[in-house]
């Protein structure tokens, strides 16, 4: 079992950036792993288990972040986090109806 931290670079792809919902998704994802997940912008490391911490990154679209995972399932945790960033937190195709923000369904 290798417990050395694994690191990987990710890019914020979704237009809205790392706002509250993506931060919430990251925290929920991080809790599924035993490994400790952290994210950094410009060398400033934040725990992935705190929405408040993630929001302080203020990561807009295009921002490069470094993800670090340390623990028994580090590789799986890293892969999952990278996939979530790659998917743009599932809001890449969100239709912004600016003329009528209230969508009746």
């Amino acid at each position: 079992m290798s417990n050395a931290p694994s690191n990987r670079m990710v890019t914020v792809r979704n237009p809205q950036g790392l706002h509250l919902r993506p931060a919430d998704m990251l925290v929920r994802l991080a809790t599924q792993f035993e490994s400790t997940l952290r994210i950094s912008k410009d060398g400033q490391w934040m725990d992935c288990n705190s929405i408040l911490s993630l929001l302080t990154l203020g990561a807009t679209q295009g921002t490069q972040l470094e993800v670090s995972a340390e623990g028994s399932d580090a590789e799986n945790a890293l892969a999952a986090v990278c996939a979530l960033f790659e998917a743009g937190f599932h809001e890449m195709n969100e239709i912004e109806d600016t003329a009528n923000p209230i969508v009746d369904r």
Binding site: Q16, R21, L52, T56, T60
Partner: protein, 159 residues
């Protein structure tokens, strides 16, 4: 971004009367209307949009804090206000705790960066427990305003 850049001083509510999620949102939106920051005819539309966002997942982010928000085409710039509830309100928060401190934000749809920078400022300042506690203990809008000013002057966190 600093609090002074988006918190409308005239709309701060240091003693919220509402006891429900929708009630708090209505009270804070009304205070922005009373402060001349939003159009009267947009009031209900804005409240509904904020409630719609809450349905996607509560904006109660823990520590007794919530950040109800929406984009809305009727605002030209990011407008926000602060509300304090002495008894706290059930807001379906992520940590299950009642919410005492509210930062309500309305941003122009085409400016996601401004919304992010406001969230960044709010979260960075609230990580300081003293600031968070003092805000919740505020009794008047002036108390809140003074704390926000001190935070803007970096008296709670460095950098």
């Amino acid at each position: 971004m600093k609090f002074a850049d988006f918190i409308q001083t005239g709309a701060i509510q240091a003693s919220l009367q509402a006891t429900s999620k929708e009630g708090v949102i209505e009270e804070l939106v009304q205070s922005l209307l009373d402060a001349g920051q939003i159009d009267a005819e947009q009031r209900e539309d804005i409240v509904a949009a904020i409630m719609k966002r809450e349905e996607l997942g509560s904006t109660g982010i823990g520590r007794g804090v919530a950040v109800p928000h929406t984009k809305h085409p009727s605002v030209q710039k990011l407008v926000g206000t602060v509300g304090v509830s002495e008894s706290g309100v059930d807001f379906d928060s992520l940590d299950g705790e009642r919410v005492q401190l509210f930062f309500l934000l309305i941003s122009p749809p085409e400016r996601p960066g401004d919304h992010l920078r406001a969230l960044e400022n709010i979260s960075r300042q609230l990580r300081d427990e003293t600031f968070c506690r003092f805000l919740k203990q505020s009794k008047t809008a002036d108390d809140v305003q003074q704390l926000l000013q001190e935070a803007d002057d970096n008296q709670f966190v460095s950098g």
